[in-house]
């Protein structure tokens, strides 16, 4: 007791604390932690005043300095129950600031809330309402619904309007509250107090945004407010609500368009005017005259000096643009001028408008303008522009691109913009177009070449990804290259040492492809010419190529033929694309012996090529990056083999005598492998790869784990991983006994490995599962995985080839699309249960309303007496109200005749809720049953009425006659 007196005497007030913080600016953290220690002591005091000051300080520190105060939750609850208003105020503020759904002591506040909500002191009620609106949990909302219900029709407007605003929170936490409160909420729309009305409109606006359909029956009320109200806040909300309702009901739109236009014309408040504009362009876009007026208003905003209005004008224009392009065209200069506005937000908006306008016809023009702007802009906006061009053009698999040659050139041009940071996206598109659009490959290779031969680009790290794509494209589609030698030089230039290893690996691989292509052309070109006109069969038997059937060889011949004229055309570099293509076509059909003489591949040039590669890749064979090292060694190994045999290659009558030589066969095999086309891969492709019969992942990986576990292996051993892995791929059946033994042993080894190399593992709680996979990110396995990926690509490509039937649209090159969509599968949207429940409850109530209001004139007694029988049935049922829940969850079961199926739905519903909660609810319901049987009765009535038309209503909402 003594200490608490001392505390209260010497306690620092909040003001002292604030002053202290200001004085101790430099040692702020120490000061705050010292104060926190004081607070921790003081808050335990039995003296409520001391406690309240401590809590006040704590709340202050928590709100402004981010101090944790969850530990004080119980003290907050304690202080809430103080009878002194000053204490209560502090406690409620603290609770509103720090309580949340997981604060367990909030359960203890139920009683206090009830007491304060029922208090005669309006300030206490107000405090409680405010706090409740922020921290209400489903439990609190359910418990306190009756109190809120009472407050909704409070005689004091200052309380009533707050209760109205709180109802939104109650509904979101406890949708069933709508059955009790909704009618009264609707009554508030007729309130004479402007602020209550304003609050009610705010609530309905929020509700209508989430589920407009349910509130259609209230349209007459809203319409009355729209026409009668003189309060701009209320009118804005009303206009907003009709913006949501109008698209659902054309007759309603017809009705409201005139008043809304009237406001647009006459009002002096820019906020209301803008709301009308926005509503017209979003929801009433079919009304030509309204849109015209709106566009006039938008123009006023656009030319205003106030940047706020300009921004909003641009935003509205973005909304109009898709349906009324003329609106943008009329304001074209303003929009383009805004691209160089001082305000980045305004620039961004005008960019958005331009992107909305993009179509097949103007994409080239707009992109040109934008790229010019991008060159002049600051880095951030430049990338913003490039990003939006890239995404607009690639939308729906390059839907708006007709001329891919142009687009590919544009990509090349964009890469060269100094600020360009979109490397990743450009990389992706270059490769994607290569795989999808055959006709674009020639241009791709040209653009790729231009990028590759420019040594300056290698210095810009943002371009590395693009260069990677250029290298890949050049290697993959090398047959389109005008000059493979030049390409090879570009791929092997010394400055590639500036690239990151993964991209250098791509370069090496591409160089490999180019080499194979050159050798293949050199070796087989002449003989193709010699054979193919006479008898292809001869050729096939001659080549004796195991594994490659005649079809592939024939295809190869054709490709060679395609290539040759191109190679021969080196001198005509100026020749236009069409010309080259024309020549290609003719040559493909009738092999022209004239091109023979101009063939670029001679014995000497091949020798030079081999030397060049050897010199460039030699140092890389010692690279520390396995990926580069391995690929370089592959190439060098091949070259070594060729060099041994090359002198043995003699010409005989225009053909090579290749008896006894190994390498031509190898070259041919490689060439076949590389000339296989790669296709785009669907995002869900992996799922569709069937697991081969013989493949049992666990067993095989048991072996792998053993090797992994043995992690003292030298780095070079990484190559040995190919063996068990390839076994697995082929799916060789393994002896079961051996492998199961291995897998048990390996589990512990794997665990050990995991411990040592934790960072390479994906974090996972499921240890047992992780046993089944190789460590995903183990760099040692990278190349195997890469091969895997390639296999996968091929595999899926094959499966896709069977399915797809490319349609040959004449003007536009064929773009390969995947049947099942290229995007990752989007998980089906889960209906938000609570939303659903709420709209169901609201609909029930509203339709009940409807029935009442129409029956007011006649029939009231009759209909209700008719229903009375049924009603009894329901009230007798122990879980009556919950059945309603079930109803709402399954809107299709609104049929009163299917009682049994309703129970079914009820059962389903239960699964969503925790059993504990359900028990409680049942008790609760039982209690309330007696307390408020009158409400109940009401509710049942409305539900009964709702049941019948429930389904009908969702399609044809009842709009009262006056709207027609």
């Amino acid at each position: 007791m003594g200490s608490s007196i001392m505390d209260s005497l010497f306690q620092r007030s909040l003001e002292d604390l604030i002053k202290g913080i200001r004085l101790n600016l430099l040692t702020e953290p120490t000061f705050i932690s010292k104060s926190t220690d004081d607070i921790r002591r003081e808050i335990k005091s039995t003296d409520l005043h001391t406690k309240s000051v401590a809590l006040q300080k704590l709340t202050y520190l928590s709100a402004l300095y981010g101090l944790d105060m969850s530990w004080a939750a119980f003290h907050v609850v304690e202080l809430m129950s103080s009878s002194a208003f000053a204490h209560k105020k502090i406690a409620y503020l603290a609770a509103a600031h720090s309580f949340h759904a997981a604060t367990d002591v909030s359960l203890l506040t139920t009683h206090q809330f009830r007491k304060d909500l029922n208090s005669a002191n309006p300030f206490e009620v107000s405090l409680a309402l405010h706090c409740f609106s922020i921290i209400a949990t489903p439990h609190l909302a359910r418990e306190l619904t009756p109190e809120i219900f009472t407050l909704l029709s409070s005689s004091k407007p200052s309380i009533g309007k707050k209760a109205v605003a709180v109802i939104l929170r109650v509904f979101s936490q406890y949708p069933d509250a709508a059955r009790v409160c909704f009618k009264r909420l609707v009554e508030n729309l007729e309130s004479s107090d402007p602020h209550t009305l304003s609050a009610a409109m705010g609530v309905f606006c929020e509700l209508a945004v989430k589920d407009p359909k349910s509130y259609l029956p209230l349209a007459p009320e809203f319409y009355r407010i729209l026409v009668d109200s003189r309060n701009n806040w209320v009118l804005i909300k009303a206009v907003k609500i009709f913006g949501k309702l109008a698209p659902l009901e054309p007759r309603l739109a017809m009705r409201v368009v005139e008043p809304i236009c009237e406001y647009m014309r006459k009002t002096g408040a820019k906020s209301l005017m803008f709301e009308c504009v926005r509503t017209v362009v979003t929801s009433l876009a079919e009304y030509e005259s309204a849109v015209k007026l709106a566009v006039v208003k938008i123009r006023e905003l656009l030319v205003d000096d106030d940047s706020n209005l300009k921004y909003l004008g641009l935003q509205a224009l973005t909304v109009v643009a898709p349906k009324h392009l003329w609106a943008v065209l009329e304001n074209k200069e303003v929009v383009i001028k805004s691209l160089s506005d001082a305000d980045p937000n305004i620039k961004l908006e005008s960019l958005r408008i331009l992107m909305v306008m993009v179509s097949e016809r103007n994409v080239a023009e707009i992109s040109r303008v934008l790229v010019n702007y991008a060159i002049k802009s600051d880095p951030e906006f430049c990338n913003e522009i490039l990003g939006s061009i890239l995404s607009a053009c690639s939308r729906n698999v390059y839907e708006i691109i007709e001329d891919f040659d142009w687009y590919v050139s544009l990509l090349g041009e964009m890469s060269r913009i100094p600020h360009c940071q979109k490397g990743e996206e450009i990389e992706h598109q270059l490769i994607d177009i290569g795989m999808r659009v055959k006709d674009a490959r020639l241009q791709l290779v040209r653009v790729g070449r231009d990028l590759l031969i420019d040594p300056a680009l290698l210095g810009n790290p943002f371009l590395h990804r693009i260069l990677s794509a250029a290298a890949w494209v050049s290697g993959e589609y090398v047959e389109f290259s005008k000059n493979p030698f030049e390409l090879m030089e570009a791929l092997l230039q010394p400055r590639i040492s500036l690239l990151p290893p993964s991209i250098r690996a791509v370069y090496v691989q591409s160089a490999f492809k180019v080499l194979i292509f050159c050798l293949h052309s050199y070796l087989f070109y002449r003989e193709t010419i010699a054979c193919s006109p006479s008898s292809p069969d001869n050729f096939v038997s001659e080549s004796k190529c195991p594994g490659s059937d005649s079809a592939i060889v024939a295809a190869d011949c054709q490709q060679d033929e395609v290539f040759n004229p191109r190679a021969s055309n080196q001198s005509f570099e100026d020749a236009s694309t069409e010309d080259v293509e024309d020549i290609t076509v003719t040559h493909a059909q009738i092999p022209n012996s004239a091109s023979l003489g101009k063939d670029g591949f001679t014995h000497e040039s091949i020798g030079n090529l081999l030397n060049l590669i050897e010199v460039a890749l030699g140092p890389l064979s010692g690279s520390r990056e396995v990926e580069i090292q391995e690929r370089a060694r592959n190439v060098l190994g091949l070259i070594e083999l060729i060099k041994q045999e090359l002198p043995g290659l003699v010409k005989k009558e225009g053909n090579f005598e290749r008896e006894g030589l190994k390498f031509p066969k190898i070259i041919e095999l490689m060439h076949d492998a590389f000339s296989k086309e790669l296709g785009p891969v669907a995002a869900n492709a992996q799922e569709r790869v069937p697991i081969p019969d013989g493949l049992i992942l666990r067993e095989n990986l048991g072996d792998l784990e053993m090797i992994c576990g043995n992690d003292q292996l030298p780095t070079s051993s990484s190559f040995s991983f190919g063996i068990p892995h390839s076994k697995e791929k082929v799916g060789l059946p393994q002896s079961k006994g051996e492998s199961s033994e291995a897998s048990t042993e390996s589990t512990s080894l794997l665990a050990e490995h995991r411990k040592l190399h934790g960072l390479y593992y994906l974090p996972s709680e499921k240890n047992d599962v992780s046993n089944d996979y190789p460590p995903a990110n183990d760099p040692k396995l990278q190349d195997n995985l890469n091969d895997d990926a390639k296999d996968l690509v091929k595999l899926t490509e094959q499966s896709l080839l069977q399915k797809k039937k490319p349609n040959h649209a004449k003007p536009r090159p064929v773009v390969v699309k995947l049947d099942e969509g290229d995007e990752a599968p989007i998980a089906a949207k889960k209906l938000e249960l609570k939303e659903d429940l709420l709209s169901g409850a609201v609909r029930d109530v509203l339709l009940g309303n409807e029935a009442v209001s129409t029956s007011q004139s006649n029939l009231t007694d009759k209909s209700s007496s008719k229903r009375r029988g049924k009603e009894k049935l329901n009230t007798d049922h122990p879980s009556g109200p919950k059945e309603v829940l079930g109803d709402v969850g399954n809107p299709n079961m609104g049929n009163p005749s299917s009682r049994r199926s309703k129970h079914h739905g009820h059962g389903k519903e239960r699964r969503h809720r925790s059993p504990r909660k359900k028990e409680k609810e049942r008790e609760e319901n039982g209690q309330k049953d007696k307390q408020k049987s009158s409400h109940r009765h009401n509710r049942h009535k409305s539900r009964q009425r709702a049941e019948g038309p429930n389904n009908v209503v969702t399609q044809t909402p009842l709009i009262p006659d006056f709207l027609l």
């Binding site: 006040q56 709100a63 107000s126 309007k161 939104l168 602020h195 304003s198 806040w233 305004i346």
Partner: protein, 143 residues
């Protein structure tokens, strides 16, 4: 819910008042405030008062050394929120007489109380300065 949060931040980027109408934990609040302050304080007077951030739209206005920032849903009427900010400042002005940063620092609870009168659960419920200030004046008299 129209308004999601209201912040008052000084020129140095220190938060002077923070009122959230949806629960965010302390780290999330700090992060959000930091991001918003960085975005908004860098802008100059001639630039527009609207900034898109995450799923919010921030409507802000600067009065002397204090920034008033209001986070709203995307569909909310920006101009109305600007008017609301102005109303808030006028109300504080009337109560404190030429309101400044220190007033809000030392009377944080009063500032909160005014906000509570004006905004409930993200809805604007009161726009009359006299009505907003009446309870505070009563309380001042009582104490």
């Amino acid at each position: 819910m129209g308004i999601r949060f209201i912040l008052m931040v000084n020129k140095q980027g220190q938060t002077r008042l923070a009122q959230y109408y949806e629960y965010l934990n302390l780290e999330e609040r700090r992060a959000l405030e930091g991001e918003i302050v960085r975005k908004c304080l860098a802008r100059n007077e001639q630039q527009c008062s609207f900034v898109e951030h995450r799923t919010y739209k921030i409507v802000y206005r600067r009065y002397a050394s204090l920034f008033f920032l209001v986070g709203v849903d995307n569909g909310e009427n920006e101009l109305a929120i600007l008017e609301f900010i102005h109303l808030l400042v006028e109300t504080m002005d009337r109560h404190f007489g030429n309101v400044c940063e220190l007033d809000i620092m030392f009377h944080l609870e009063k500032a909160h109380f005014m906000l509570e009168e004006m905004v409930m659960n993200g809805c604007i419920v009161e726009t009359s300065k006299a009505n907003i200030l009446a309870p505070i004046q009563l309380m001042d008299k009582a104490s």
